[in-house]
């Protein structure tokens, strides 16, 4: 069975676990870096990116996360997780994991009262995906190898670059598991490639 890790330092961990399980895969909550060896792919959940970064540093996770990214195993970042994956963050000199060739802006839709729900057309996933945006970032610029999967009001809100998948919104907050299912398929493909 496909094993999907969910980085469990802070944030919407339980929801991602349920979503992974609904897609017929096994979910592993990752609290220690050694656990990364057990899984075939990794979800970086929504939460507070500032907080997650501090905890990543504190527990010396960063090198292991970078190695994981280089190992060929897929990674999926939602909201704060997208910020962790991005190579460029507006207003910051350094990225976090910095593997996906996109430039993101944090809290770019405004404060909580501007947070919203919208129906999205996500290429290869769904034409009517109910997406929940919470103090969300968006992708301001994407590199040439990045496939843009969805836009909202002209802003890129979901994209894929090879084995890296990122979105601005929270697919884990609804019962629609199609985007998580898409990620599980990415993991299956990567496992076949590895064989």
């Amino acid at each position: 069975m496909i094993k999907v890790g969910v980085l469990g330092l802070q944030g919407a961990v339980r929801e991602h676990v349920l979503s992974v399980e609904a897609c017929g895969a096994e979910a592993v909550v990752i609290k220690r870096k050694e656990q990364l060896d057990e899984v075939d792919g990794l979800i970086l959940p929504g939460g507070e990116s500032t907080t997650m970064r501090r905890l990543i540093d504190k527990y010396d996770f960063m090198d292991s996360l970078k190695e994981f990214a280089q190992s060929g195993k897929p990674m999926f970042g939602t909201c704060a997780g997208l910020i962790l994956l991005a190579k460029h963050i507006i207003g910051y000199d350094e990225p976090h994991i910095g593997v996906m060739d996109v430039r993101v802006e944090r809290n770019s839709f405004g404060r909580q009262r501007e947070s919203f729900e919208a129906d999205l057309d996500i290429a290869g996933v769904a034409e009517d995906f109910a997406a929940v945006f919470i103090r969300a970032p968006h992708i301001v610029e994407a590199g040439e190898n990045v496939e843009i999967l969805s836009k909202h009001n002209g802003r890129i809100v979901a994209a894929r670059e090879g084995r890296f998948l990122g979105c601005s919104f929270h697919p884990e907050l609804t019962d629609d598991h199609r985007l998580t299912g898409y990620f599980v398929e990415m993991i299956k493909e990567s496992k076949q490639l590895a064989i």
């Binding site: 939460g47 500032t50 501090r54 905890l55 919203f116 729900e117 103090r135 907050l173």
Partner: protein, 293 residues
């Protein structure tokens, strides 16, 4: 495109899970909290222990404090409005505060009715001591709960009582037959539909944090152990000798609440925690948890 939906408001609290929300009274403290890994800050004029000491009527803080704090950090900023004070809540919403705490720490403005929180785009957190109170607040539109505890005392005993009570009552509802729920709703003073939801989910439909009396990293870990989704720390941090160190220790103890060796390490040499108040020494009218209905 819709703003202020239940999913958007409750989802915001979901993102805070496993984290610590810290009371701050200025931009400098807010930065220390963010740097320590807080998931949000609560901007106040005075922390609860000072409110307790000062006496008199406690109101919404000076908007300048919220403004200053919002300008200083990128994590969400919460603020407190008095129970039932429609205008204080509207002011905080208009200012762009990310979450409002309709809080018994302030002097209630209405002794009969809480706010109709469904009317607002901004989400609300409210205190509770049992499932009935929790369900009434959710019924009014609260998107997040916290135990009431006894704020500003540095004494965890009330927060423990409240989280145990709520969780025991949730377990009871989950185990009941559906035909028993209407009577249970009547006994608890809880909306029937909410108990149905609790039964089908196997838990509360919103995030429930611990608050009121968390004074040490071990207190924070205890609340997580008892099933809290995260922790509010009020007076404890900035009343301690080394707030930055203390704040980091609380955050780490919350994340790794079952790693006791680690909690031992980070509890070392934190200096004297706040003195604390024995609850039985508080006159009933001085107990903030009795506010709210």
């Amino acid at each position: 495109m819709k703003t202020g939906t239940d999913r958007v408001k409750r989802g915001m609290a979901e993102m805070q899970k496993g984290g610590v929300i810290m009371d701050v009274v200025n931009a400098e403290q807010a930065k220390i909290a963010e740097e320590a890994g807080a998931v949000a800050v609560m901007a106040l004029e005075r922390v609860p222990s000072d409110i307790r000491a000062a006496g008199g009527v406690a109101r919404m803080a000076d908007p300048r404090i919220m403004e200053e704090v919002m300008g200083a950090v990128s994590i969400p900023v919460m603020a407190k409005a008095r129970i039932g004070h429609i205008v204080e809540a509207r002011i905080l919403e208009a200012m762009g505060v990310d979450y409002i705490d309709e809080s018994e720490v302030l002097t209630p403005a209405d002794e009969e009715y809480h706010l109709n929180k469904r009317d607002y785009t901004v989400p609300f957190v409210c205190g509770c001591r049992d499932l009935g109170e929790a369900a009434r607040r959710i019924g009014e539109g609260a998107s997040m709960l916290r135990t009431k505890g006894e704020p500003g005392t540095g004494n965890i005993v009330e927060a423990v009582r409240h989280i145990r009570k709520v969780n025991a009552q949730v377990r009871k509802v989950v185990g009941m037959n559906e035909d028993e729920l209407m009577t249970e709703a009547k006994l608890l003073g809880a909306p029937y539909e909410l108990l149905l939801e609790v039964k089908s989910l196997g838990r509360l439909p919103v995030v429930n944090f611990a608050a009121g009396g968390v004074a040490t990293p071990a207190d924070a870990a205890l609340m997580m152990e008892l099933g809290a989704d995260g922790v509010f720390v009020g007076s404890g941090i900035f009343k301690s000798e080394n707030p930055a160190k203390f704040a980091r220790a609380i955050v780490e103890a919350t994340t790794h609440y079952q790693d006791y060796k680690l909690i031992a390490e980070l509890s070392k040499e934190l200096g004297t925690p706040m003195k604390g108040i024995e609850i039985s020494s508080l006159a009933p009218e001085a107990r903030m948890q009795e506010r709210g209905w």
